[in-house]
């Protein structure tokens, strides 16, 4: 397997703050890798080191096989970066913003114009192409920002919290864009505070907290790693809930929870499901719903870090109104 991004032992301090306390990453080429963590975890710092904007105090990293410290100019030719805050020139139009990047990347005038038009169409910004970016909505700015980082057809794309502050519709659009990019062979490193986002897009996730990777794996592996699975049973007759609680509790060995006559209990033993089915059958309880599901990433995060991932940033924060 080839890795588009590798990082080993990245350490970065800002005065007394240790933003990165030894980050290791290996991102296979052509995949989406999610960096999941709360505010202040070190996500942006990691991206800035990998995108050659910041040098690490310790450790080293390669992007596309080139060392970010020794060969930054080469790395810059391979990457696209969409920072945490939409970084478009607000006084320029959508077209001019993309023309600027195209020309800086060495495209000829006509070529840069064609590329700008193509991207504006792809990102549904045709109608706004001739307007100054300061008149754009938050979602439009984000799309323009992303388009700007794609002008040079990067092999490796860094997306730092691409959907923070977007309404659900814009967020879904952005997710589709990312999926299309990966289908085209681009490697994406995506940071997010949203568990759902990492689950939706990333093939592999690293959970970061306090500048360290505290867990890593596919979304499924992470879910399996902590709490195993959850057995959920809902009897047809709500009067049977107490029987279900007794049976499930006995099989699982812990006290189940009850919510709206659905009984849930964490289980580790694969034999738990058939055992519960048999004993409920014996007791004559008719079951309306019976499921074994993985624990959600939310639960995973809580059990890994001891705190929730999304403390004060609502997922569906309203789209920023244009200034």
């Amino acid at each position: 397997m080839t890795y588009a991004i590798r990082a080993e032992g990245l350490v970065r301090r800002f005065g007394d703050t240790t933003a990165l306390a030894g980050v290791d990453l290996a991102v296979p080429t052509g995949t989406v890798f999610g960096l999941l963590g709360p505010n202040g975890a070190g996500k942006t710092t990691t991206v800035r080191v990998l995108a050659t904007l910041l040098t690490a105090d310790e450790g080293h990293a390669t992007v596309g096989g080139y060392d970010v410290r020794r060969d930054p100019h080469r790395v810059r030719q391979l990457i696209g970066l969409t920072g945490q805050y939409a970084s478009v020139d607000e006084t320029l139009t959508g077209t001019e913003n993309l023309l600027l990047i195209g020309r800086l990347l060495g495209l000829g005038r006509a070529e840069a114009r064609a590329r700008a038009a193509e991207l504006l169409t792809d990102f549904h910004l045709d109608d706004a192409a001739g307007r100054a970016a300061k008149t754009y909505s938050g979602g439009m700015r984000r799309r323009l920002d992303l388009a700007a980082s794609l002008v040079g057809r990067p092999q490796v794309l860094f997306l730092d919290e691409p959907t923070t502050g977007l309404d659900p519709r814009s967020r879904n659009e952005l997710w589709d864009i990312v999926r299309n990019l990966v289908a085209d062979g681009v490697t994406v490193l995506l940071t997010t505070q949203y568990l759902e986002e990492a689950d939706q897009l990333a093939g592999e996730i690293a959970v970061v907290d306090h500048g360290r990777v505290i867990a890593q794996g596919t979304p499924e592996e992470l879910k399996a790693k902590t709490g195993g699975q959850v057995l959920a049973v809902r009897p047809v007759d709500p009067a049977d809930v107490s029987t279900v609680v007794a049976v499930a509790g006995e099989v699982a060995g812990t006290v189940p929870e009850v919510a709206q006559s659905t009984v849930t209990v964490p289980v580790n033993d694969p034999g738990a499901l058939p055992a519960v089915v048999r004993r409920l059958d014996d007791a004559g309880v008719a079951v309306a719903e019976l499921a074994l599901r993985g624990s959600s990433l939310d639960e995973v995060f809580l059990s890994l870090t001891g705190h929730r991932a999304e403390e004060d940033t609502p997922v569906n924060a309203l789209e920023r109104t244009p200034a």
Binding site: T52, L53, L81, Y85, E90, E96, L104, R153, Q155, L181
Partner: protein, 271 residues
């Protein structure tokens, strides 16, 4: 969304370094970026023009007779200095734009591109030089309409512009330093007003030195604004040139020697 958006084409081995010619091309592109916005926002051009023209008109007709005996004579005395004052204010544009780029994340976007490290700054300064040229031409034209006559013809005008440019390039480093140190663009402008107003008024731009109190005269005589204004009077109107011009150049070199390293270091530290 079509597949055309991004195709990870098999890359040529990327180049290790950049040539100077490429860096100059990036500088031109970035200068274009700073100037093209005037097209959408013609108000900026007006902004650039109104204040200096207003100063010329107000001072000539309100104070001219009181200070020099007649508006015409006063214009001859004051116009070169007003050009200097305007150049000082204009250097603040560099720091303002840079701070805007830093706070809005545009600077990071540029730094992540495979372009010359110095191009973003150079592009900005080049664009501001063009704006500077515009204001000088405007001031000289307005002056000409009001009766200002060039004493040394075109050569004097070009010399004045070259000297002003050298000084502005040096002073731009002060602006860059401020732009890097403050956390929002408006603070660059506040700095500009707090420093440039007193600095340019305590010179001989508007009032001859011997009309001021003695303690102030000592400062006025060593104020670089006075020295540059004298040099411009020599070049545009007539009189001694070599002395004040040489001193102006020395000031420019001194300012650049102190502030360029400070500004570059502050910028390195901030990004």
């Amino acid at each position: 969304m079509t597949a055309a958006t991004a195709t990870a084409t098999a890359p040529l081995a990327p180049a290790r370094r950049l040539g100077v010619v490429a860096g100059l091309r990036h500088t031109l592109t970035l200068a274009w970026r700073s100037l093209v916005q005037i097209k959408h926002n013609p108000m900026e051009l007006l902004d650039l023009s109104i204040q200096p023209v207003m100063f010329v008109l107000l001072f000539t007709y309100v104070f001219g007779t009181a200070i020099s005996g007649s508006p015409g004579e006063y214009l001859t005395f004051a116009l070169p200095g007003i050009i200097v004052q305007n150049a000082f204010f204009a250097t603040m544009t560099t720091g303002f734009g840079l701070n805007n780029d830093l706070t809005k994340g545009v600077f990071d976007r540029l730094r992540a591109l495979p372009i010359a490290r110095w191009a973003p700054l150079a592009g900005r300064i080049l664009a501001d030089t063009v704006k500077q040229a515009w204001s000088v031409s405007l001031l000289v034209s307005v002056g000409a309409i009001l009766g200002f006559r060039l004493g040394n013809g075109l050569a004097g005008l070009l010399g004045a512009f070259a000297l002003l440019l050298a000084f502005s390039l040096a002073a731009a480093w002060i602006s860059v330093l401020v732009g890097v140190l403050v956390d929002e663009p408006d603070k660059v402008q506040i700095f500009g007003f707090m420093v440039i107003f007193p600095l340019t008024f305590t010179s001989n731009v508007f009032v001859p030195t011997d009309r001021m109190p003695g303690w102030l005269q000592n400062w006025v005589e060593i104020n670089p604004v006075t020295i540059l204004a004298d040099a411009l009077r020599g070049l545009l109107v007539g009189g001694p040139v070599a002395g004040p011009a040489l001193q102006s150049v020395l000031w420019a070199v001194g300012i650049a020697a102190v502030f360029a390293p400070l500004a570059v270091r502050a910028l390195r530290r901030r990004v």
